[in-house]
Symmetry: C2
Subunit: 340 residues, 2 copies
């Protein structure tokens, strides 16, 4: 018989592992995240047992999402921001949602290299994005990793996203506060903000506002203030501030942290903080449920082929969407009956 | 035995009714839309047969979505715009997506009253929103009604929405061109554009740009141009024009029609028109499929109660979203096995 894998102890005794994680054992946390990221059915079950055991120890962290286009200086910002928070007594975990990332040694090395000081700081824990997969799958694993980090005592969770496709939206759905980093400049650089990102922002910070960039950064900030003024939805009680900062020079970072705290106070005073987190939980559950339900078709080769045939017939003008869906549902129910 | 209902002829002979609709019989069109809006399973089946028979006669119309806040003058605009198009030889159908509307005599009367001239014009067909229901349900019926109107020879379809919840998004998903009407004024009136509406707009028209409003309308237009400049996504090849118009004075309407045609030419030249329509069809089918799949749970009292119990447990911190979903999927599969 093969030797039991390194994973076995967690599978055998989730409660013991929960205790080790709550006790702050870094290696236990790392292995628990690996378990959460696994697709093996027995790992999935063990991961859920572990998470359930840890739930009472979760939820106390500031959950902060950070996005920005490549080149905006996210890594430098996160390193400087994280080190400042650790200095002030916080424990900071950095997670990522990047569905395009492959999980290889290179990727992990990359994350450690680009945040060289933070990665070796005992107050920080940096974990790269789960391996490439569907956005929903990657996000679900990052959410669960966030809970593990909270249980391990990290009280600030920074979740970075590179802004591919809908990744900002899913990250904004798992955090309390969503920070959008922007580049200085008021000309063409301003164009091409990703669809909908202004609406997700709880704050915009114009990064690299140092040296010769300061004038451009102020111009950009004033443009963003105008844009937010125009796009702010009716009934929104928080006006996203637009600040300047420099990850490189370490400037503007404490103002950003103050605003994050002000936002939390605002939600608490308004009585909407718990409601926001609860709604996120319910939407998360519903999104997993939709994935599982569509998976009944998408993960069955025969049904998937039938679906593709119907899509082709639809495009060819031979059937209607409603008729196609009825055919597909009939096929699904026949398939479920056969398998029972 | 009760006499056969008025509906029976369609149920018995969809092909005959398809011929009558294509032949331009207004009464046949009206009854077909009523059939499409019915929830009775036999009506649903007959409606799909009818639509399938009519598919070769659909697709040739300009499909235009129109939104704007209450008070922006949508009815006056649509009446003036529709009459202008009829004058130019078009046949214009006006449909609506308003999930908050009740289908009562009052509602129909309302639509006819607010577009008094258009409603009696033989070149126009006005149909109020399907009865209150889920947005997806109301939208599906309006989509199908649009196909019926196309088969009946209407070559311009105006789909109005009042902008409740996500209704702009679903209307933008069924049209070729999405027009957002705005009010003049450059101050606080500008605030509170609905979330995401700027991104859906293929054109913004500042309505009521007449009399004393003209200065305010120009100021508003320049603000919207700036906002669109900032929020235009990377890779977008169509820059939404911002025009002034007055439904009341009948001004600016032909410029709007010119831009709608320019947009169509742009998509045709780019080779993306068919792709846009095909992608809409596939998304429509997938959205109906998701509705049917979630309906397996939501429309089963026992499973719905189980779902609500699990949501409560989730909020209470007793389970994780993933565990809750697995429990629910197990319950669903057990239920499907029992019923087979």
């Amino acid at each position: 018989m093969p030797r039991a894998s390194q994973q076995t102890p967690i599978l055998d005794d989730p409660k013991l592992w929960a205790e080790r994680i709550v006790g702050g054992e870094r290696a236990a946390l790392a292995r628990a995240i690996t378990l959460v990221e696994s697709k093996r059915p027995d790992h999935r079950r063990a991961a859920q047992q572990l998470l359930t055991a840890l739930l009472p120890h979760t939820g106390a962290a500031r959950r902060i999402g950070i996005t920005g286009v490549p080149g905006v200086g996210k890594s430098t910002f996160i390193e400087a921001f994280g080190l400042m928070l650790i200095e002030a007594g916080h424990k900071v975990a950095v997670l990522a949602v990047d569905p395009s990332s492959g999980r290889t040694g290179g990727s992990i090395l990359g994350d450690k290299t680009r945040m060289a000081q933070l990665s070796v700081n005992p107050g920080a824990y940096i974990r790269p994005s789960p391996a490439a997969g569907t956005l929903g799958g990657v996000a679900a694993k990052t959410r669960e990793s966030m809970l593990l980090c909270e249980a391990a005592g990290f009280d600030v969770i920074l979740i970075e996203t590179v802004g591919v496709g809908q990744s900002e939206t899913v990250v904004s759905e798992m955090v309390d506060f969503f920070l959008v980093l922007m580049l200085p400049g008021a000309g063409d650089e301003l164009q091409g903000i990703k669809k909908g990102v202004l609406e997700l922002a709880d704050m915009i910070a114009v990064n690299k506002a140092d040296g010769d960039n300061q004038k451009g950064a102020r111009a950009a900030a004033s443009h963003y203030r105008a844009a937010l003024h125009i796009t702010q939805p009716v009934g929104e009680t928080w006006t996203p501030p637009v600040l300047l900062c420099s990850g490189l020079a370490g400037e503007g970072l404490s103002e950003i942290w103050q605003q994050i705290n002000a936002h939390r106070d605002h939600l608490e005073e308004e009585g909407t903080f718990e409601a926001k987190r609860n709604a996120q939980q319910i939407r998360w559950m519903n999104s997993l449920l939709t994935d599982r339900l569509t998976g009944l078709i998408e993960e069955d080769d025969t049904l998937l082929a039938e679906k593709q045939r119907l899509e082709a017939a639809l495009i060819a003008g031979e059937t209607t969407p409603a008729s196609a869906v009825e055919e597909l549902m009939d096929a699904l129910q026949a398939s479920l009956r056969r398998s029972s």
